[in-house]
Symmetry: C2
Subunit: 455 residues, 2 copies
């Protein structure tokens, strides 16, 4: 069978790529209302491709926000069912001026596809669609497959929980398989065993009721930029420990044994620094880089703006300054609790000379997958088969907000089998996905189904 | 003569206004290169109006940047000469969405002209043009008048010093008269006796060489927004005293007598707070509001930006964060010295995990005018005549960077006779100039010439 899979994939290599590029050309940016029609166009294309690739049915299903695409191929209700989760929405492409080519005009260079969504997550979920086609066309599908491809992952999946609750029977499965993460490298394959949770808020600080002349009023009225900067500066202490009272209350500290295991994952600090172009790393004292991004919660400012940001100089004391701020959470932090803590904290620390309006964007819970589950074991065996090396279990720094809800509502475990790389420029200009990884993913996924069916 | 002036001004009231509006319709934003042609168009219109209003000659004269408009009416070389300085360039109009009407589509409402440049400084320098016309047409001009109307005041007059040095003979005069400031109110007329200096810099903080996914890298790499916020937060101590070593070294402290005199200027803190819509004022401990904006140097962030600033949420750890920062200076601070101090300070306090690129926008020296000079006395008498009340001498918070250079190169004193109000929204959306103030200025200026000629 392995030869049949490989032959089929080789013969259809170019088409598999062309179909991915077609998806990438649609600017399906969920955060921006101007792309509402693009979102639907993208969902329709996903539906069509699911049908073309072997699904018995595929539907664009409504939610209160962007639609969900559901598809399924049921070979035998008695066989195990794998639910593939992915998302067809992408992050905004800004800042556009830093892209070397159009974010929605995919370019192939040095064996990489450059486009927004190439790795996160269009290129990755589409591997599962082409793996399905491979198994169907070679008559070797051993599991039922369901697809849940949503359009709001990048804005925190605000409507997916309701959708899942309302469609529990439809989504019934034995395991959830997600390719929306990365591995250490092609030489050191890894499987994520966790994702961090997320609390994302926005803080708007208002000083005077209008922009003021900084000469006439400077020195006599609180400058909201200065106040916001002071508030942001107070969020980390000198050890880069988050200094919001109560923030760490529910954190389950990793054991010494767990930290020792994590320490074995290959990591070269010089390579890491060189790749990022920094002279020194930065982070919470007392933890390694992998620990800082894996087992520790963090707090980052994702955006800030206020006053004059154009060419040249303008002597203004602005009325407002705003920041987008998000925390990554680890077990057993609760996103709702941390979001409320953050919102209250900013209001509390604001001086009386300004007013603070703080509100929530979205959140999600951290999630851990057990290494001894059937799903994880099937994924590890699949990787072992195609990479020739046992994958290292690692804790990923990113977030997939819906994970904890999927497990709770459907009562099944999630397996993360990501084929991206950390340097894929996710959420950044020049996002890319290596063709080698795309094809390796399509090659590996059928083994997951095979091993899961046999387990 | 007074009756003749008043009659002439009454008869031409509407035209005086229409001509001002014509000037306001040209978006002469010196900071933005896209307005280069508008700048020249505006200069040409000023030149034409100077000729129409009685100048013997008027020229658009080249500089390395935007041109200067020079005009003159020489009645008798033996008579005293007044050099009127003003500027035809304006501040950028952003943020555009906060304007109630187009910044370059003047609207008259409740006796006020709303437009960028209405008070700063087109409406104000144009009072002098119409005052000239009044005196010429009524045969009552008793001084020579020269006009120096520049196009780069809002970007720090980078080319005017050279222009003045190269045209000393042309600009020879006995006093410099400037209307580019405000008075306390129409009921409490005041004359500025000083302007603050300025040091304006931009600080760009770079962390990683590209925008990063805040989940994958958050917590392990310095976030340039956080670092910039910490640097900004460190600029003021808990008494809102500027905490940059050496910043206050050259400040000449006001004497107790001077501060007592300043304290007599009418000021209602409740009105001030209500006008600005703030619950509490803010500023350096130990000083009153008027002292904070008059005799004390200040440091304000005029703009900040970094990361994602669009709709919704983006989980990015940005590569760069930038701030525009300016200090207002008082005697005897030196703009060059303070600018160098600021640039060096930001480089010095930056942690090794980021790189800082700090550069200068522009600067200017503080300036004080002596209250016993012939020019100040003529201005005070003119105000007394038309307002029926002796003006209060006050120290203005704004800056006119070229003042100290004009005095040094031409060897003469400057008189500030501004007719604006603090709430004219200078440098802000909805800049306005009251028609009452415009006409009162045109009415008052001829008296200055009369009294100066007689003194």
């Amino acid at each position: 069978m392995q030869t049949a899979w490989k032959d089929y994939q080789k013969q259809n290599e170019q088409r598999f790529l062309d179909e991915m590029l077609e998806l990438l050309r649609i600017p399906s940016v969920s955060a921006k209302s101007e792309h509402k029609d693009d979102m639907r166009r993208c969902a329709e294309l996903v539906r069509q491709r699911l049908l073309d690739s072997g699904c018995d049915r595929a539907d664009v299903m409504e939610t209160a926000g962007h639609p969900v695409v559901y598809g399924e191929k049921i070979i035998d209700p008695a066989k195990p069912t794998v639910l593939v989760y992915g998302h067809y929405d992408v992050q905004p492409a800004d800042p556009l001026e830093l892209w070397h080519s159009g974010p929605f005009e995919p370019v192939i260079k040095d064996g990489k596809v450059f486009a927004r969504g190439s790795a996160d997550d269009k290129g990755q979920f589409y591997m599962h669609v082409k793996a399905l086609e491979t198994m169907v066309k070679t008559g070797s599908l051993e599991t039922n497959i369901k697809f849940l491809i949503e359009g709001e992952e990048e804005v925190g999946s605000p409507n997916l929980a309701d959708f899942v609750r309302q469609n529990k029977a439809l989504l019934k499965a034995d395991v959830i398989l997600i390719s929306d993460s990365s591995m250490i490298s092609m030489e050191n394959p890894s499987l994520d065993i966790g994702v961090r949770g997320l609390s994302y808020i926005e803080v708007e600080v208002t000083g005077p009721n209008r922009d003021l002349h900084s000469g006439t009023y400077g020195g006599a009225v609180a400058n909201p930029i200065t106040i916001l900067a002071k508030m942001i500066a107070s969020l980390h202490d000198q050890n880069n420990h988050i200094s919001i009272p109560g923030f760490y209350d529910d954190v389950v500290e990793a054991t010494k044994a767990e930290r020792e295991l994590m320490g074995r994952a290959p990591f070269d600090e010089d390579d890491y620094k060189q790749d990022l172009g920094v002279n020194e790393l930065w982070g919470e004292n007392g933890f390694t880089t992998n620990e800082r991004t894996g087992i520790r919660p963090t707090l980052e400012v994702n955006g800030i703006w206020g006053g004059y940001t154009g060419e040249g100089a303008k002597t203004v004391l602005p009325s407002k300054a705003t920041a987008k701020i998000s925390a990554r959470l680890v077990p057993n932090q609760d996103s709702r609790k941390i979001t409320d803590l953050l919102l209250a904290h900013f209001k509390k620390i604001a001086p009386a000379s300004v007013t603070v309006h703080a509100f929530e964007h979205h959140g999600g819970e951290p999630y851990m997958t057990p290494i001894d589950s059937k799903g994880y074991q099937a994924a590890a065996k699949a990787i072992q088969t195609t990479f020739g090396k046992e994958p290292v279990p690692v804790r990923g720094g990113g977030s997939i907000p819906i994970c904890s809800i999927l497990e709770k509502e459907l009562g099944i475990k999630i397996v993360f089998m990501g084929f991206g790389l950390d340097n894929d420029n996710l959420h950044s200009p020049n996002e890319k996905y290596n063709l080698e990884n795309y094809y390796k993913g399509i090659e590996t996924i059928p083994y997951f189904h095979k091993f899961f069916a046999q387990s």
